[in-house]
Every structure is written in C-alpha cells, then in structure tokens.
C-alpha cells in the first residue's frame, strides 16, 4: 500500500498511541538471556512448546514456517529502557527470500503488526496479544515471571498468525519477521488522525443502531457474550484455586516440623515420626509443582481466550459498523434526488464490502471455534494429567512409608484390616 515518507528523526513517540504499552524496565540487569541454545531442526521446534498443536490444525499439510520468540534482553537508550525479544523464523515458503531470519522486536512492534493485520482484515479474528501489565494479583511489571509469561504469549501470537490461511500471507507479517529495522515500516499506514476518525464513526453508528443483523450473526453475538462470561469465570475460578493451593502449601510447611520436633522427644517413635515429616515434605514439593503448572499452563491458556473473547466482540462491532455504513448510505440514496449516480456506486461498493466482511467472518468463525476447542481441550487435558501425576507421586510417597513401617518387627494386622 502507498505510504507517505516519514522524516528519519520524526519523534513519533508523541503521537504514537502504542508507546506506553511497551514494557519499561528499570532494573540494573542488562541481560536476561536464558542462554539456552535454540534447536535448529524444524521437527524439534514443533514439540518445543507443548500447547501448540499446529500439526492437528494444519491437517494433512505440513508446517512450512517455524517461528520462535525468545531471549528477552533489556535495552537501554538515552530516552528509555525496554525489552527486546529475539524472533527467529525458519521457512521454506517461496515468498521469503531466505530460509532463515533473525530479528529483534519489542512489544510495541507486535502491537503495530497486529494493528496492521486488523486494519487490512477488519472482520477476521486476529489472535490477541498479551496485555500491557497485569492489574490484579501481585505480579510486578518488571519481574522475570511476567516477562517469561509475555514472551510465551508473543510466541503463541506469531504462531497463530503463521497458521492463519489469510493472515500469514500478509506483507506486514513478512516485514515483521524479516526486516532488521522495523521503525521505517512502522510509520507507514493510516495515521493517528484517520484512526480517530474511524472510532468516531463507529460510535456514531452504534448510537444510530443497526436495522437488522442477519440471524447467524445474532446467534454469534449471543454466543460471544456467553462465551466471554464463561471463560472469564474459568479464569477467576482457576486463580482462586491457585490461591487456595498456596494457602494449603503454607500450612503444610508448618505441619511437617511438628512431626520432626516430636521425634526429638521419642525413642521408638522417633523413626516413624521422622518418616511422617519426610512424607509431608515430599507432598509439599508436589503441591508446589502442581501450582506451577496451573500458573504456567492453565492460567495463560484461559487468559488467552479471555482476550480472544474481547477480540471477538470487537470484530463483531466492526462487522456491524460496516453494515451500518452501508445502511446509512443506502438510506441516503433512497432519500436524495440529486447525485444519484455517484451515490449509487458508493452504495454498491459498500454492499460488496458488507458481503466480503460477512463471508470473511463466517469463514474465520468456524476456524476460530476449532482452534479454541483444540487449545482449551489440550490445556484441560494437561491439567487433568498433572493432577493425576500429583496424586500418583503422593501415593508413592505414602506407600513407601507404609512399607517401611510394615517391615518393622512389631507391625501387624491393623494396616491390612483397614485397607
């Protein structure tokens, strides 16, 4: 698309709305590399991040592009400090000149990419980005866990885009993955002012109201509302479970020492009491692991779909606006007597636009639903497995203890009777 040239020293920060969405870091650490070498073979990269089920989604077609986001490093400039992520792309796609690219991108760049994709395809469902920062909970903006969570989400974002049949062939996407310097590209495209205009029109349209939404979109709208509620509830319940588990963990931590202390006062009983303390400590560790899984796997997955729900609502509004635009011009056509030719052309174009938008959404809708089902199913299955693993490990701990007690000479039938 054509774009005005932009002076090199353009202090776009002032007008760029996305500026404050970036993560600013004020720590002394200058590097947060995890140091782990990236695997080079495509097949090993497929398995690297468990939740991605690209193979399932691709169906019979094999994946021809692999993207990873890693190696967050803080960058210090005169004006600000922020995090840069490394984005590595390996691909066999013909539209790419090379088969491998490595670039550094910041959060702001991802925001730019997503904005472009939405603009070019307003009624497609573009995967959401992780949020600016977490408001509730004790997550500090600058800490390692938060950066890691964000990195994983950015990784997922790019992979979701790469799997989308339409979006992955976007020129912006290619530029994002390949250009060493993104800044010159970023200043192209509709300006702040034109984006404002769009928002104003959208508000005006929503005030005016839609004449009639097609049945299928009414159903979709209802679903989106309900889904949004349910997924938010799931997110909240999971957070609550984590909270309760953490409190349980704390009490367990106080519990095992009581056995150890008692053992100090006993002779015969010292050994079994110490055994008990050991068992409780081991269960303590397993509980910690379970909590980690919930926080690192289940919560991000649910949260991602909470954001998706918001995206869906936005997409539906855009579709409504496109229809509203058409309807308002259409009414004008019916009312006015002059300039009918020009207006008629405009109305026809808008009618086409409505049809394109509706079809795009319809097509993407079933794609999105499948993707959602797969992703959430995978997250729930993983959580159920983790819980089973948790109980299996604790079971083993207690069975070992029981065995150690039963092989003692003075032990008999009470155990057998009771089980």
């Amino acid at each position: 698309m054509s774009s005005p040239t932009v002076p090199a020293d353009f202090s776009g920060h002032m007008l760029d709305l996305d500026e404050d969405e970036d993560l600013e870091v004020f720590t002394k650490k200058t590097s947060m590399t995890d140091g782990s070498p990236m695997p080079n073979s495509p097949s090993s990269m497929v398995n690297q991040y468990g939740l991605d089920e690209e193979e399932e989604e691709q169906g019979t077609s094999t994946k021809d592009i692999f993207i990873t986001v890693d190696n967050p490093e803080s960058q210090v400039t005169a004006i600000e400090t922020f995090i840069m992520y490394r984005v590595v792309t390996k691909t066999t796609r013909s539209e790419f000149d090379s088969s491998e690219y490595e670039v550094r991108r910041r959060y702001q760049d991802f925001v730019w990419l997503r904005g472009r994709l939405e603009e070019s395809q307003p009624t497609l469902i573009v995967h959401p980005l992780p949020e600016k920062f977490v408001m509730k909970g004790m997550v500090e903006r600058f800490n390692e866990d938060f950066i890691e969570t964000r990195r994983k989400a950015l990784h997922r974002f790019l992979n979701k885009i790469s799997e989308h049949p339409i979006l992955s062939s976007s020129e912006h996407f290619k530029v994002f993955l390949t250009a060493q310097e993104l800044t010159p590209h970023r200043k192209q495209g509709p300006s702040f002012l034109s984006r404002m205009g769009e928002t104003v029109r959208a508000v005006a349209n929503s005030v005016r109201g839609l004449r009639s939404r097609p049945e299928e979109f009414v159903i979709m709208q209802e679903y989106v509302e309900d889904f949004s509620n349910k997924i938010s509830s799931m997110d909240k319940v999971t957070q609550r479970i984590i909270k309760e588990q953490k409190e349980y963990l704390d009490e367990l931590g106080q519990y095992s020492p009581t056995y150890t202390q008692w053992a100090g006062a006993e002779e015969e009983l010292a050994e079994p009491l110490k055994g008990m303390a050991g068992c409780v400590e081991l269960c303590n560790k397993e509980t910690e692991e379970l909590i980690s899984h919930l926080a690192d796997v289940l919560v991000p997955a649910l949260h991602e779909y909470v954001l998706c729900a918001e995206t869906l609502k936005t997409v539906m509004k855009r579709r409504d606006n496109i229809q509203a635009d058409f309807e308002s011009k259409s009414e004008a056509l019916a009312a006015k007597k002059v300039d009918q030719e020009a207006l008629k052309e405009e109305v026809d174009a808008l009618a086409d636009r409505v049809e394109l938008a509706n079809n795009a959404l319809k097509g993407d809708w079933s794609r999105w639903q499948n993707s959602m089902r797969t992703d959430l199913k995978s997250a729930f299955v993983a959580t159920a497995e983790k819980n089973v693993e948790y109980y299996e490990k604790c079971l083993a701990v207690w069975e070992r203890f029981l065995l150690s007690q039963r092989t003692e000479p003075s032990e008999e039938q009470a155990g057998e009777d009771a089980s």
């Binding site: 679903y223 309900d226 889904f227 349910k230 509830s233 799931m234 319940v237 609550r240 479970i241 309760e244 588990q245 409190e247 349980y248 704390d250 009490e251 367990l252 106080q254 519990y255 009581t258 056995y259 202390q261 008692w262 006062a265 006993e266 015969e268 009983l269 079994p272 009491l273 055994g275 008990m276 068992c279 089902r373 959430l376 199913k377 729930f380 299955v381 159920a384 497995e385 819980n387 089973v388 948790y390 109980y391 299996e392 604790c394 079971l395 207690w398 069975e399 203890f401 029981l402 007690q405 039963r406 003075s410 032990e411 008999e412 039938q413 009470a414 155990g415 009777d417 009771a418 089980s419």
Partner: protein, 431 residues
C-alpha cells in the same frame, strides 16, 4: 467391642467396625485381652448408643444433655454360642468423669486412661464446636467406649469394684467418692519443692510435658491443614458449575464439558468423607495428649509422697533433737524455750518430765508416720514405674498404628484423586 474380631453382635459390628479407628481399637484390645486376666476377658463391654435427654439440674433449671448406653454381656455365654441380650444402663459424661476421678485418686501410681475431650478443641472451620452436634456426639461415644475398654483391660484397674458397679448398676455411690476425690486432686496441683525425687520420675515428668506440647502443636497444625485442604477441594466445585453452564452454549464440546463438570462436583464433595475419616486420627492423637496429663499426675503424686516423706522425716529429726536438748540441757539451736529459760529461769523438773513424755509420744508417732510414708513412697515408686513402662509400650504401639492409619488414609485419598482426575481427563479428551 470385645477382643474378638467379628463378634456375634451384628448391631455392634455394623455400627463400629467401619472406621479404621474402631478397627484399631479392635486389634489393640485383642492383644490386651490375651495378655492378662482382666475384666475384659470375662465381659464384653460397649457403649452402644447416645441419646438426648432433658431434665432439671441441681439448681432446678431445665437442661439438655446426652446419655450413653453401656452394654455388657458375659464372655462365657458368647463363647458357648448363646446370644444373650446385653445388660444395659444409661450414663452421662459427667458420671464417666466421676468414675475417672475416683480411679485417679484411688490408684495414684497408675497412668489412668483419659476421657474424650469435654469440649471440641482443635476445631477446623467446618467441624462444629457444639457439644450437641451429632458428629461430636458420635465421636464422643467412640471415645467413651475406648476409655472403658482401656480401663477394663488394665491389669490393676479392671479389678476395681466401683468400676464393676459403674458398668452394671445404676446407682449414686459414685457421688460420695467424688467429694474426697476433689480435695486430693487439688493437692496434686499445688507447688512444693522436693529434695530427692526419683530421677526416673523427674525425667518422665519432663517427657509428659514434651508429649503434651508436641501433640497439641501437631493437632493444631493438622487442623489448619485440613481447613485449607477443604478450601481447595470445595473451590473445584465452581468448575463443576461453570463447565455445566458453558456446556449449554457449545456443540462439540458440550458433552465433554458437562461430564467433566460432574467429576469436578464429585471431587469437591469427596473432601467431606476424607476429613471425617481424618478426625479419627486426630482423636487418637488427642487421647495421648490427654494421657500426657495422666502421666504427669503420676509423677506429681510421686513428688507429693516424696515431699510428705521428707517433711515427716525432717519433723522426726527435729523432734529427736528437741528431746536431746531437753534431756541433756544443752541447747544446740536457738529456741524460744531456751531464751525464756535464760530470762525467767529454768522450769520445774515436773514440767520437764511432762514435756519429755509428750515428745517421746510424738517421736513414736513420727516414726510410725515415717515408716508409713516410706512404704507409701516406695510402693508408689514401684507401682508407678511398672505402670509407666506399661504405658510407654502401649503408647509406642498405639501411636505407631495411628501413623500407619494416617498413611493408609492418605493413600486412599490419593487413589480417589487419581480416579476423579483420570475420569475428568477422559471427558476432556472427548471435547
């Protein structure tokens, strides 16, 4: 609850041989019956039921209380295959207290088994602290039965006549005993300094303090853990609700979500039984928390008898000294008599004779007293040491079994968890 596992009484079996706690008592009692010729050998004892009653109390106020049914049957009748109806009578908790106080006073060298707690302590949030709560009453019934079985299987306590009457006759004879019991019990809590206590008893007293402190800390920590675990399980019930609502708006995912939701509900509900079971473990620990007090009482009693002996001995020594002074006229120690003699002159020989005679009598009494007290002290030390050894063995065995039972409960809980989450996983796979 005889020592015979699987008795002929189906009602007993059904009521009690369900929880692992009762099974524990079963096997422990089985051991005890074999060992000594105790009351339990001759008689099957149980606390079969609990009932609420209302009546007027001593200040003529209406009150509600619980009574417990004590049932006894002769062992030989059962062994012969006959199935006689049990003799039974109702008693309330306070009567059990009177019996125990009587035993404490009458057998001060015995570590007397404790009663179940008067009020619910170490409560975690769901458990009611109300004495009228059915779960509390049930656990108390089990505890009272356990008390009777322990007493009836004790080599010495089981032969007590009052115990026999308690089990078989309705009567007020216990209240008479209680008045003397109170005063002697109060003596046990007084403070005094003993010069030469038996070191073993001193050590045991320290141990009893430790046992009490550690078991109470453990019980407190366990109650808090139980409370938190309850929270974790119950919150999963919310998954059940959300899955159910969510399944209504989905097509392909609907069934999977719906059935997974049921499993989450089952998971949330399972904690009630799990923690109920764990209360039995807590009860076993509580028994030894209270046993610690009984153990300390024996040690205190030793201190008391030793103190009394020391006092008596000292008194005898000083009286003998006085006699010597009176006889020889040499005053070794300061005395008012000596002073007054110096100031107002010596007393008449008749007076001195009279005083000497009195002293001789007192000394004779004193010697008797020292003899008695020495014997009492020795008896107490001997009997006490034997019973403390018996107690130690019983404690090690019982607590070890309690820990094993706890492990078994944990295993059962883990197995349930594996079951539920495996089922949930199957449902998710169908999504």
């Amino acid at each position: 609850m005889s020592g015979q596992v699987g008795t002929a009484n189906p009602k007993l079996h059904e009521k009690k041989c369900v929880s692992s706690f009762s099974l524990l008592t079963c096997s422990v009692m089985f051991q005890m019956v074999e060992e000594g010729s105790t009351l339990l050998r001759r008689m099957e004892i149980s606390v079969a039921e609990a009932e609420k009653r209302s009546g007027k109390n001593s200040v003529n106020m209406q009150e509600t209380f619980t009574v417990y049914l004590i049932e006894t049957r002769p062992m030989d009748a059962i062994a012969e295959g006959r199935n006689p109806a049990p003799d039974s009578l109702w008693r309330r908790y306070s009567e059990f207290e009177l019996l125990r106080n009587y035993l404490l006073v009458t057998y001060p060298f015995i570590v007397v088994p404790p009663l179940p707690e008067k009020r619910a302590e170490f409560v975690w949030h769901k458990l009611s602290a109300d004495n009228m709560d059915p779960d509390f009453v049930e656990r108390r019934r089990v505890g009272l039965e356990n008390f009777l079985l322990r007493v009836a299987s004790h080599p010495i306590l089981s032969n007590d006549k009052i115990l026999y009457h308690f089990l078989t006759e309705v009567g007020g004879s216990l209240s008479f005993q209680s008045r003397t019991a109170d005063s002697r019990l109060r003596a046990l809590s007084a403070t005094f300094r003993v010069r030469n206590p038996d070191k073993r008893f001193v050590d045991m007293k320290h141990y009893s303090d430790e046992l009490q402190s550690h078991t109470s800390q453990l019980l407190r920590a366990r109650a808090r853990v139980a409370d938190r675990l309850y929270g974790v399980y119950k919150v999963h019930g919310n998954y059940g609700r959300v899955f159910s609502e969510w399944s209504a708006i989905e097509k392909e995912m609907g069934d999977g979500l719906q059935s997974a939701g049921h499993h989450m509900d089952a998971y949330a509900a399972s904690i009630d039984d799990i923690l109920e079971e764990e209360e039995h473990y807590a009860d076993q620990l509580k028994e030894y928390l209270f046993y610690a007090e009984a153990l300390r009482a024996v040690c205190r009693k030793h201190e008391l008898t030793q103190f009394e002996l020391e006092m008596a001995t000292q008194d005898l020594v000083s009286k003998k000294q006085q006699r010597e002074e009176l006889a020889t006229g040499i005053v070794r120690t300061f005395s008012f008599k000596g002073m007054t003699n110096k100031l107002f002159g010596q007393e008449a020989p008749e007076q001195r004779e009279a005083r000497l005679k009195l002293l001789e009598e007192l000394i004779a009494e004193g010697e008797e007293s020292v003899k008695e007290k020495t014997a009492e002290c020795e008896e107490h030390v001997e009997g006490g040491w034997v019973d403390m050894q018996r107690f130690k063995e019983q404690k090690d065995k019982d607590l070890r079994e309690a820990l094993i039972n706890y492990a078994i409960m944990q295993i059962s809980m883990c197995k349930k968890g594996i079951q539920v989450w495996s089922n949930a996983k199957e449902c998710f796979l169908k999504m």
